[in-house]
């Protein structure tokens, strides 16, 4: 099939960027979207033009590297699908397709379709972990976890950290990403001791980054390639409020001086 592509080209963080238009002939319906870009890039190299920079790695929808807004939707219009797993059979002959990077102040463009998502790492570093000292763990079966709880925790743990939630949100909020981690760890018995402190620390770091606030559009949930529910956000808000009310962070049973 034939396609017309409008792709965002931006030389670097300081370059204002622009759309470039490319005509593609003979796109196979079996190709993935990224393979279609590979073919275009081979063509560009042949013509002596710099290929389009885009991030990708596993191409199995799990590493979270790839991410681009396709026709206005992060990862394209197929639900529950990263753009590496999006196949060209979902497009039709003669389509015009617009491809852009994640657009969010907290994710500055590095080049073309590549953005810097290190804000996510900083949020995890603020508290997105259980500080279980390596080597100190009891037997894995010492604490039974109801199957339903483990499955629910896993639903939230499936987040691949791609950033589609931020790109989809009109406010560029990172609530779904942050909440998924808080919900995953907060549901498990192992995550209880640090639960409120974790929620507080992660939310505060999120606010220090250039993300917006949540106004319940639910665009994040719709765009999430792992279909993570915004129930996570409710759980996060609950834990965050509890943390604020209980004065988490002031450790000790003695009167403060």
């Amino acid at each position: 099939m034939r396609l017309t592509l409008h792709v965002w080209r931006q030389k670097g963080p300081q370059d204002p960027g622009r759309f470039a238009t490319y005509e593609l002939e003979d796109v196979s319906t079996h190709m993935s979207f990224l393979e279609m870009l590979d073919v275009l890039n081979q063509d560009l190299i042949g013509r002596g033009e710099e290929p389009i920079a885009f991030e990708h790695d596993c191409r199995e929808g799990i590493c979270g590297s790839c991410g681009m807004v396709i026709d206005g939707v992060p990862h394209g219009t197929q639900p529950g699908t990263t753009c590496c797993q999006l196949h060209m059979r979902h497009f039709s002959d003669g389509d015009e397709v617009v491809v852009e990077p994640w657009r969010a102040r907290a994710f500055p463009v590095v080049k073309d379709l590549v953005v810097n998502r290190s804000a996510f790492d900083r949020i995890v570093q603020a508290g997105g972990f259980i500080s279980a000292r390596i080597g100190s763990a009891p037997d894995g079966n010492a604490i039974p976890i109801p199957k339903a709880t483990a499955e629910r925790a896993m639903d939230f743990a499936e987040c691949i950290g791609c950033g589609a939630c931020v790109a989809a949100c009109p406010n560029s909020a990172a609530m779904l990403f942050v909440a998924a981690k808080i919900a995953h760890l907060g549901l498990l018995p192992q995550g209880q001791p640090e639960r409120l402190e974790r929620a507080k620390a992660m939310v505060e770091q999120m606010e220090r980054e250039a993300f917006g606030a949540c106004t319940n559009y639910r665009a994040c949930e719709a765009a999430c390639p792992k279909e993570i529910s915004i129930q996570a956000i409710a759980m996060m808000n609950r834990d965050f409020r509890k943390a604020m009310l209980s004065g988490t962070g002031h450790i000790g049973g003695k009167r403060k001086r």
Binding site: S28, H30, S32, L34, E35, D38, V39, Q42, I45, G46, P51, A53, H56, D57, C58, R59, E60, I62, C63, G64, G80, Q85, L86, H87, R89, V110, K111, V114, N116, R117, S118, F120, D121, V124, Q125, G128, F129, I130, A132, R133, I134, G135, S136, A137, P138, G140, N141, P144, I145, P146, K147, A150, M154, A157, E158, I160, G161, H184, L188, Q190
Partner: protein
């Protein structure tokens, strides 16, 4: 090159304990005086960096992704083995040890494998404690499933995303150490060479992938946790950026390379669909628990699968290997699939595929059970192929997946360069000539969480080193070489893209050094590869600048190293005049087509030493002595 495996004395089950008890440690107050470089943040690298940081060493972690969480361990699907015997089905440390040695076709070092089996249990405990949501029974206790090459059910899993959950566990521990200030993370920073000072590994040279800046880093020890080299075949199940550069550069600086020809071709991958194909996608081996593999009995039968009656189907794994059936080990299953297709009985476009059929188990267990166990894998299959595996059998074909070969390490995981440690898939140590399913995750985490804290401490405590700085001559020289290579790649300004040259290499390698190998094919391949390599340096076209974010340039350097590695793989495959595990030499097979091992002449690890460009590498051997396991012909019949 001296190969001293430094295996502790004593009976097999006591060796590791003995090392732990006897090893010299570093006083907690002194640990912060030592700096350690960790390259790669997959399971091995992230767990090592987190463990060492927690102990108080000053750790610098380098990785080429934008986030440590994206390393390729994330893509492991099926599970992780541990000899917990929660199933009461007869598992034990010895059985896991024995299965792994046998699965590796008796070409692994016994003592290392035993340690791995011992540590397997602590890994599960650590993962649970760090919040890994493993699958559970209704009782709330941990669930298990079966994997190839074992008669017990010992695999722990998180749906089809076990690697992801384990890596996120290790990544979060790493994040905690970054926050604590014990680990400094260097994202988008690729190691391009190793620096050896006075015979010891003392640092690395990196390229900042955002700015192109080439820089040196000094330390008291260097850990390479940089994964395998299956991408030498171009099409593999590995992530697109996986490469050999870190270990290849270390090889060129004096680290021995062990068994480079031991590669694993995984039997259950989605077949190639066209020339544009960029990679192959694995379908977890766990599917073989409930899926039955078959092809039509008649060659050239191109009826749709539902039109082929039961009696005209050949469930060839069940027929050939009745006791293991569809769970025969990977090398054996892959070769069998290739034979079926070579006989003209393959299915799907091009005839390179076999069916993996779930209709029997769906009838027996109900679709909801199958959906519960494999739902996400079925979805992935449908997304890629456009076919619904609940209705139509999956089509699968073998693809390069894992490399058992790697840098040679002793029992302490130290290479032949003192101070250079190699962990996880990057080393050669535990899987012999074939790796069993669900044991790569186990090895990565055992090396990083539990082995290296002891053995690295022992090295540092026993070694008097003078301070080095990135400004000194040894570092400057390597930096200059790295910069020169980058310049040469950009200066070629030829006519062919990196991928065009790379695809050619992959094709040659898959034909000559893939599932079956011959002296004739390998000899010809060595010539071809040399020619391709020469042409590459003359005619490659790399656009853009050195001082910029330049993905083509990154790839060009990695592919250049693949050309060199490919040649060594063929040399190794040619030298090993036997068939074992994934290494199948057509000249050496039994009357029934099974691999014919030669324990008289090849019960050793082949270790190659770089002798300089254009010179033949020097062969060394580490003899393998089996004291706990009796060498036997591997049979899964």
């Amino acid at each position: 090159m001296k190969l001293d495996a430094r295996i502790p004395s004593g009976p097999m089950p006591e060796k590791w304990t003995r090392l732990q008890e006897e090893v010299k440690l570093v006083n907690p107050a002194n640990r912060r005086k030592y700096s350690v470089i960790v390259v790669g943040t997959g399971l091995a690298g992230a767990s090592a960096a987190a463990s060492l940081g927690e102990l108080g060493f000053r750790v610098q972690a380098f990785f080429y992704h934008d986030s440590a969480r994206r390393a390729h361990s994330i893509a492991a699907q099926g599970g992780i083995n541990a000899s917990k015997n929660y199933q009461n089905d007869g598992d034990s440390v010895h059985r896991l040890f024995y299965d792994t040695v046998k699965g590796g076709d008796f070409r692994a070092r016994e003592a290392n494998v035993h340690r791995l089996a011992e540590l397997s249990m602590a890994i599960i405990d650590q993962a649970v404690a760090s919040g890994v949501p493993f699958a559970r029974e209704y009782s709330g206790y941990l669930a298990n499933r079966s994997f190839g090459g074992a008669l017990v059910s010992r695999t722990f899993y998180s749906r089809g995303q076990t690697g992801q959950q384990l890596l996120l566990g290790a990544y979060s521990s790493l994040a905690a150490q970054v926050a604590a200030g014990t680990v400094v993370a260097h994202p988008r920073t690729e190691m391009l060479d190793l620096v050896v000072v006075d015979g010891r590994a003392r640092g690395i040279v990196t390229r900042d992938l955002s700015t192109g800046k080439v820089e040196s880093w000094a330390a008291d020890a260097v850990l390479l946790c940089t994964g395998g080299y299956s991408n030498v075949f171009f099409l593999s199940t590995n992530a697109k950026n996986c490469n050999t550069t870190a270990i290849w550069r270390a090889y060129r600086r004096g680290a021995g390379f062990a068994n480079p020809c031991f590669t694993q071709i995984h039997p259950t991958c989605i077949p190639q669909s066209g020339d544009y194909q960029s990679k192959l996608t694995l379908m977890s081996e766990s599917l073989r628990n409930d899926g039955r593999v078959w092809v039509p009995k008649r060659a050239g039968d191109n009826r749709s699968p539902d039109q082929v009656p039961e009696e005209e189907r050949d469930y060839y794994l069940e027929r050939m290997y009745p006791s293991y059936g569809n769970l025969a080990p990977r090398d054996i299953s892959s070769r069998a699939a290739k034979h079926m297709c070579d006989e003209g009985r393959g299915v799907g476009p091009g005839g390179r595929g076999v069916y993996l059929d779930f209709s029997d188990s769906t009838r027996r267990l109900g679709e909801h059970v199958i959906r519960d166990r494999y739902g996400n894998l079925f979805e992935m299959y449908e997304r890629i192929t456009g076919e619904d595996p609940y209705r139509v059998p999956m089509r699968i074909y073998p693809a390069p997946h894992y490399t058992m070969g790697g840098l040679w390490v002793d029992y302490h995981l130290m290479s032949t360069i003192p101070g250079l440690f190699v962990l996880g898939e990057a080393n050669f140590s535990d899987h012999g000539a074939n790796r069993l399913g669900a044991s790569a995750l186990m090895q990565g985490l055992a090396d990083g969480y539990f082995v290296i804290p002891y053995t690295l401490a022992a090295y540092l405590a026993n070694t008097q080193q003078t301070a080095v700085s990135p400004g000194q001559a040894e570092f400057r020289e390597v930096e200059a070489e790295v910069e020169d290579r980058v310049k040469r790649l950009l200066a070629a300004k030829g006519s062919r893209s990196v991928d065009a040259c790379y695809r050619e290499l992959g094709k040659v390698m898959f034909e000559a050094c893939g599932m079956s190998r011959t002296a004739e094919g390998l000899t010809a391949a060595i010539d071809t590869i040399r020619g391709l390599k020469e042409a590459y340096w003359k005619d490659v076209r790399v656009l853009g600048e050195a001082a910029d974010f330049n993905q083509e340039l990154e790839k060009a350097g990695r592919v250049a190293d693949f050309f060199e590695l490919a040649e060594l793989m063929c040399v190794d495959a040619l030298t090993r005049e036997e068939s074992c595990g994934g290494h199948f030499r057509e000249e050496h097979q039994m009357a029934d087509g099974e691999a014919k091992r030669d324990d008289e002449s090849f019960c050793h690890v082949t270790v190659w030493e770089h002798a300089g460009d254009g010179k033949a590498p020097v062969e060394h051997r580490e003899p393998l002595e089996f004291e706990s396991v009796k060498l036997a012909t591997r049979s899964y019949k």
